[in-house]
């Protein structure tokens, strides 16, 4: 049975299949990789594929592959990014960042005469790509105002329409082990670059919904344009803006234009901060990076596809996936839960 669901229904499915087994294996069927393994009952076991195993497989399929097709294959670095995007690995200096932001907000609150300019944050594109705000800034009791440059938005939206053109090469050359690749790939499907941009776009929409935000004008594209737009905004406004970025390089431009910045240090990739919420998010993000994942638990296999012909932008924003499963109860659960959620929304 194939059914379109919000990714949170993966919890319902895991609840059902884990009655018979607790150890879950997650594979990327198109790439023939065992990505992660975990114990669903208490999360005391969580294992990711190591770089040697990952890279040896990737090297075995990329021989003679052209650059365009290469761009469709997630590297090990991309795989580690999925852990960061889901919040399972944490930037090294996260505590200092949060403390710094809290302090800046507090200074202004306690002594507005001494600190007349409200503290606000400007975002670099990578902050949206790596879901830093939804994963980490939500922990703050008081939330700062967030400024988003059009340069950032244009950089993201310029990529969400990128399609994979040569499906048969991707299917035959790269995914030659998978006979049924045609069930996953189709002409006009979103490219890897587009899929990552859609994660960023979805984060942008979430941030705009949950935070006080302001869009400012800016030209496309690149670090200099981003800094320039924040600099122009600060010059004409009464705010004290700090740029938040994962990129050391942009800080130079930022400093030259008199904009302070916070560098988010890359996480330590073998130190996990695992919980059920970020685990489920990881499964969703993996399905986007690897086109599809299969979740295996003894006799059950749940296949989660992130792209399909006819998928709309609303599906991306609602975080819908296409699930192939033999767990028939999921349809009844979905129908009831959707009706109930609709009823509850009436009380808001």
């Amino acid at each position: 049975m194939e059914i379109k669901l919000n990714y949170k229904y993966i919890i319902s499915l895991l609840n059902i299949v884990s009655e018979n087994c607790s150890k879950i294996l997650v594979k990327a069927p198109l790439f023939n990789l065992n990505l992660i393994e975990f114990n669903y009952m208490n999360l005391d076991y969580f294992k990711i594929i190591d770089s040697d195993e990952y890279n040896s497989y990737i090297y075995s399929i990329i021989y003679g592959v052209n650059k365009k097709i290469m761009d469709e294959i997630p590297s090990y670095r991309h795989f580690i990014d999925t852990l960061l995007i889901s919040g399972i690995i944490v930037p090294r200096n996260i505590e200092n960042i949060l403390k710094y932001i809290e302090q800046q907000l507090e200074y202004r609150r306690i002594d507005p005469l001494k600190y007349p300019k409200p503290f606000i944050l400007g975002l670099d594109t990578n902050v949206l790509y790596l879901n830093f705000i939804s994963n980490f800034l939500d922990r703050l009791r008081e939330k700062p105002m967030i400024i988003i440059s059009d340069s950032v938005v244009k950089e993201i939206s310029g990529k969400i329409d990128k399609k994979v053109r040569d499906i048969s090469s991707l299917g035959k050359i790269v995914l030659r082990n998978i006979l049924s690749y045609k069930g996953y790939l189709y002409n006009g499907m979103e490219s890897f670059r587009a899929r990552r941009a859609l994660i960023a776009y979805s984060e942008l929409k979430d941030v705009e919904e949950k935070y006080v935000t302001k869009r400012i004008s800016g030209k496309c594209c690149g670090d200099r344009k981003i800094v320039e737009s924040y600099s122009n905004f600060v010059r004409d406004s009464r705010y004290s803006l700090t740029l938040l970025t994962f990129d050391e390089k942009i800080r130079g431009y930022s400093s030259m234009r008199g904009i302070s910045s916070i560098y988010i240090e890359p996480p330590i990739s073998n130190s996990y901060s695992l919980n059920y919420r970020n685990l489920i998010k990881l499964l969703y993000i993996l399905s986007i990076y690897f086109i599809a994942i299969s979740i295996r638990c003894e006799s059950y296999t749940i296949e989660v596809k992130s792209i399909w012909s006819g998928k709309r932008l609303e599906d991306w924003l609602n975080k819908n996936v296409l699930i192939n499963t033999n767990v028939e109860e999921i349809k009844e659960i979905r129908d009831r839960a959707e009706k109930i959620l609709q009823l509850i929304s009436r009380t808001d």
């Binding site: 949170k8 229904y9 919890i11 319902s12 895991l14 609840n15 884990s18 669903y40 009952m41 208490n42 999360l43 919980n275 059920y276 919420r277 489920i280 659960i333 009831r336 839960a337 009706k339 109930i340 959620l341 009823l343 509850i344 009436r346 009380t347």
Partner: protein, 150 residues
């Protein structure tokens, strides 16, 4: 024998939904559901009626409004409902999870005094899932605990 399900209603509809859903999944689909409201939560009446219908359109629903500060009054009112269900041949389950502590105390006391068939409490072990409905809560984070009865 058919089951009746008595449950207090607090400010979180999600909690009421999760209690009913987990009871249905773990035990039985009740023939009758009785919601114990306060003057504050009474406004959820229509919504919860529609929620119950998503489980089965044939479930009967009863709404009772109590003064949450008067344990004695709640015990009296709920006690008479339990008696009535018994006369009609129902087994009785009381869920003490949602609502104020006074409501839970009153419902638990009533259950013991009337020797109902089951008193249950939905233990959410992880606060992260507060505000979510049952299907979106991982099984290891939630447990329908039987406080009394089989």
């Amino acid at each position: 024998m058919d089951w009746s399900f008595i449950i207090s209603v607090g400010l979180s509809i999600e909690a009421v939904v999760s209690c009913l859903w987990s009871f249905v999944e773990k035990y039985y689909l009740p023939k009758e559901v009785c919601f114990i409201y306060t003057s504050v939560t009474e406004r959820f009446r229509d919504i919860l009626r529609d929620v119950v219908k998503t489980f089965s359109p044939t479930i009967s629903i009863r709404d009772v409004v109590v003064d949450e500060t008067s344990i004695e009054n709640i015990v009296k009112k709920v006690g008479s409902i339990v008696d009535e269900y018994r006369v009609r041949g129902y087994k009785v389950c009381i869920d003490v999870t949602p609502g104020r502590k006074t409501m839970s105390i009153a419902l638990y006391y009533t259950g013991l005094r009337k020797n109902v068939d089951k008193i249950v409490y939905l233990h959410l072990k992880n606060k992260m899932f507060e505000g979510e409905i049952y299907p979106f809560i991982p099984k290891p984070c939630i447990d329908l605990v039987t406080l009394y009865g089989d």
